[in-house]
């Protein structure tokens, strides 16, 4: 007991002293680890932030985690294919603990016209209050307010559509669409808000109107075309989908990744890409640590020989070497994580402004200002990577040391 604590302290002191003696290279290795971690954290947080933003936009403004349609609606959208048992569905979802929020929508293709222009558009009959809680639409609002105003005569319009129609707040918009009786129905609306979600399907065509108004306009007696569900945790998506499918056999239930397969692929591709980069960087970093440790062992081979000769166990020497590399790794990890964390936090709050490329980013449904994210497991991954790199880079030098028979080395020059 005494021995081990005593040797523990001793090990730390010896290791620290030898690191201080070779200050330049210690600092270089620490700097190397810190800088590569910094870069990796920055990259991971920013890239993931970018893709999560994209997915989040699509989930909040579009599909939710789960989307429910009437049978056959997805393949051939038609306002006669309605979810008529909406109350039953709502009741079922309301008592499920996994569900965070539910909204229902009435969707129909329409023509939006002003005195000068007309464009194809998509009517979304929504309940604004629920929608606001569901997708925090207010965050997407660029101009005006999220309200349909007195007698629900207002509309909230996607930014791309507003631009094409050259309309702004207060302008009148006439929507024409085919109603359930096959006649072309038309209503006049005032633009009260303009939103930009970076979900192109919404931005370039959506006209949000009051759900009751939409039902009246399209001649829908009861029912909606779409129910979107957001869950507390993405993990619950599949079980709930199963449950819904079993309970409501006349409805179709889709997960967001089934509706937007490209987004899911982006995420998978991004993760793979991050890991490959991590691997590459830490393989190189391990090489750096390895070189330093190897040289420092070879330089001290006589020192170690003397220690062994006076009865020190090899295990202690191994501990010293391991401790040295651990200190280096840990210092690098600490400074790198701190630097990376602070940088990520800066970009999490302020975002990276890429407005200069907004046309290109728009084409990909990306926000012009990218906000990074910080996840605790970044630092766990980083720690494991550093630990692995330091341990791996020590194994070989230790074997070299053992083979070199340090005691014999004393007699050498």
């Amino acid at each position: 007991m005494f021995r081990s604590t005593g040797s523990g302290l001793l090990v730390a002191r010896i290791a620290w002293a030898s690191l201080l003696r070779r200050r330049t290279r210690t600092v270089l290795v620490v700097l190397m680890i810190a800088m590569s971690l910094w870069g990796l954290l920055f990259m991971q947080g920013l890239y993931e932030g970018m893709y999560e933003q994209m997915i989040d936009n699509a989930i909040r403004s579009g599909s939710g985690h789960l989307t429910i349609y009437a049978k056959g609606y997805r393949l051939e959208p038609d306002i006669k294919k309605l979810i008529t048992n909406i109350e039953e569905v709502a009741r079922f979802l309301a008592k499920d603990q996994r569900v965070a929020s539910v909204v229902s929508r009435i969707n129909q293709e329409a023509l939006a016209a002003t005195a000068n222009y007309s464009r194809n558009a998509k009517v979304l009959g929504v309940e604004l209050g629920a929608e606001q809680k569901h997708g925090r639409l207010a965050d997407y609002l660029r101009q005006g307010e999220l309200a349909f105003g007195p007698k629900a005569r207002g509309a909230v319009v996607g930014s791309g559509l507003a631009k094409k129609l050259k309309i702004s707040l207060g302008h009148k918009l006439v929507l024409s669409a085919q109603a359930t009786d096959n006649e072309v129905s038309a209503i006049a609306l005032k633009v009260r808000g303009i939103i930009k979600t970076n979900n192109l399907a919404i931005d370039d065509g959506a006209v949000f109107i009051d759900q009751a108004k939409a039902a009246e306009f399209l001649g829908i007696g009861a029912g909606v075309t779409q129910v979107c569900v957001i869950l507390h945790s993405e993990e619950e998506m599949v079980p709930l989908q199963q449950a819904l499918r079993q309970k409501f056999t006349d409805l179709e239930v889709f997960r967001w990744d089934e509706l937007y397969p490209a987004l899911m692929q982006s995420r998978v591709m991004m993760e793979g890409f991050s890991y490959v980069t991590y691997l590459l960087v830490f393989a190189v970093a391990a090489l750096g640590i390895f070189g330093v440790i190897l040289v420092s062992i070879l330089e001290r081979i006589r020192e170690f020989g003397i220690m062994l000769a006076i009865g020190t166990e090899f295990a202690l020497i191994r501990k010293i070497v391991l401790f040295e590399s651990f200190i280096i790794g840990f210092l690098g990890y600490l400074s790198g994580s701190l630097l990376g964390g602070l940088t990520l936090n800066y970009f999490r709050v302020h975002g990276l402004d890429l407005t200069a490329f907004s046309e290109g980013l728009d084409a990909f449904g990306l926000d012009a200002i990218m906000y990074s994210i910080i996840k605790p497991d970044y630092f766990v991954t980083a720690f494991l990577a550093v630990l692995l790199a330091t341990i791996l880079s020590v194994i070989f030098p230790l074997r070299v040391l053992k083979k070199a028979r340090p005691i014999e080395a004393i007699t050498k020059l």
């Binding site: 270089l28 190397m32 090489l287 290109g360």
Partner: protein
């Protein structure tokens, strides 16, 4: 010469260090060369695909057509334009298109789609319509009511090769245009929107229907050298009347070009991170070897070698090593790039994603540009020299006696 000889001797004397350094720098160089070749190659391919599938490298349109694509803004004399482009140097192919929107009657439902009159022969070179044929045949210059349509649209309309279809639309004189056409061929470019909404007719026949003889919405020009498209556009602009504009794909597809730039920026950020760590590793290795020779350096100084000579010797070593590694790495990276330039990598599982973004690409070749490879090699050479500089300068600051006693 003397310095070089000594440096070379030292390199051979410190085999381990030399090998590690060479391995490290050459691998890094290979990585950089390959990565930039892959990035450039895939971006070029994506842009190229997007450009070549249909829009073309260079478009001539009426001045206001792009802002307001209506029959009021048409090219009115394709004949004259044809003659003008024909005698312009550096043009590989050119042809007129007349794009219009029609309704196809499928049972009682009307499905809207693009109907374009094309000149089948030059169009073979101007776009990939011809090579995207999947069923039936492409158009000929003598075709009458033969329709070439996208597979997805055919699915939507539930028609196949050999079936007839009716369309109605507006002619260029605003007259009614309606006819029955026979589907003779189906194409699949991979762009969902295009395959699901575009149809083509032989222009002479189309012109009869649409009263559009000598009229066009677009006049598409293929440069002999795609890289020289800007010069060609500038040249055409000078000759064209002010009513027309000639624009290269950089203007007509600005969003895509920007998107690729953003992608490159992210790619270089990632490479930058890898370079930071490699920079440090090289610095560390140089430091280790230089300091392992500190006594040797002390002796050299003691016997009268000037610090300048020592510096020259160490720098010479570093330079030789770097040059060697960079050349080796350039060769490896270049070979990889060349191999993947000839045998593009396939990404079948990402097809869906690319399609969603309008990039009809499943295989990504590398670019093989010797100039870019040399650029990357030069960057790596400077980087490795730079990373060795600090240890070399530092070791040279020691006094000879101090150096000799350094542990």
């Amino acid at each position: 010469m003397m310095v070089a000889a000594i440096a070379w001797r030292n390199i051979r004397a410190n085999k381990k260090r030399s090998i590690v350094t060479v391995a490290l720098i050459s691998l890094t160089t290979a990585l950089l060369v390959y990565s930039s070749a892959f990035m450039d190659g895939s971006h070029n391919k994506m842009i190229q695909a997007a450009v070549e599938i249909y829009p073309g490298y260079l478009q001539i349109t009426q001045r206001d057509f792009r802002d307001n694509p209506s029959y009021d803004n048409l090219i009115l004399d394709t004949g004259a334009l044809h003659r003008l482009v024909e005698k312009t140097a550096g043009v590989a192919a050119h042809g007129a298109r007349f794009e219009t929107f029609v309704l196809y009657a499928a049972r009682e439902k009307a499905v809207g789609a693009m109907l374009t009159g094309i000149e089948p022969e030059p169009e073979k070179l101007l776009s990939r319509l011809h090579s995207s044929l999947v069923k039936g045949r492409y158009l000929t210059k003598d075709d009458t009511n033969a329709l070439y349509m996208g597979v997805e649209l055919a699915k939507r309309l539930k028609v196949d090769v050999g079936d007839t279809l009716s369309f109605i639309g507006n002619g260029a004189d605003y007259s009614f245009a309606a006819d029955r056409v026979e589907v003779v061929g189906l194409f699949k470019t991979g762009l969902f929107d295009f395959d699901g909404g575009a149809t083509f007719l032989n222009k002479p026949y189309f012109d009869q229907m649409m009263a559009s003889t000598d009229l066009a919405t677009h006049y598409v020009v293929l440069p002999r050298q795609p890289a020289a498209v800007e010069e060609l556009a500038a040249g055409l602009r000078q000759q064209l009347s002010r009513d027309y504009r000639a624009e290269s794909w950089r203007q007509t597809m600005g969003g895509l070009v920007e998107a690729m730039e953003v992608d490159s920026i992210f790619g270089y950020i990632t490479l930058g991170i890898i370079f930071i760590v490699i920079f440090f590793v090289i610095m560390i290795y140089t430091l280790l070897t230089v300091f392992s020779r500190i006594r040797e350096i002390g002796i050299l100084r003691a016997i009268g070698t000037t610090p300048g000579q020592v510096l020259a010797m160490l720098l010479g070593e570093s330079m030789i090593l770097s040059l060697l590694s960079v050349c080796l790495g350039g060769l490896i990276g270049g070979a990889l790039a060349y191999y993947f330039y000839l045998n593009p990598m396939e990404f079948p599982s990402y097809e869906e994603q690319f399609k969603q973004y309008g990039l009809a690409v499943t295989s990504m070749p590398c670019a093989f540009e010797p100039l870019t490879i040399l650029r990357d090699m030069a960057i790596m050479f400077l980087l490795s020299l730079l990373s060795g500089l600090y240890p070399i300068v530092k070791v040279n600051r020691y006094q000879p006696v101090e150096a000799m006693h350094h542990v």
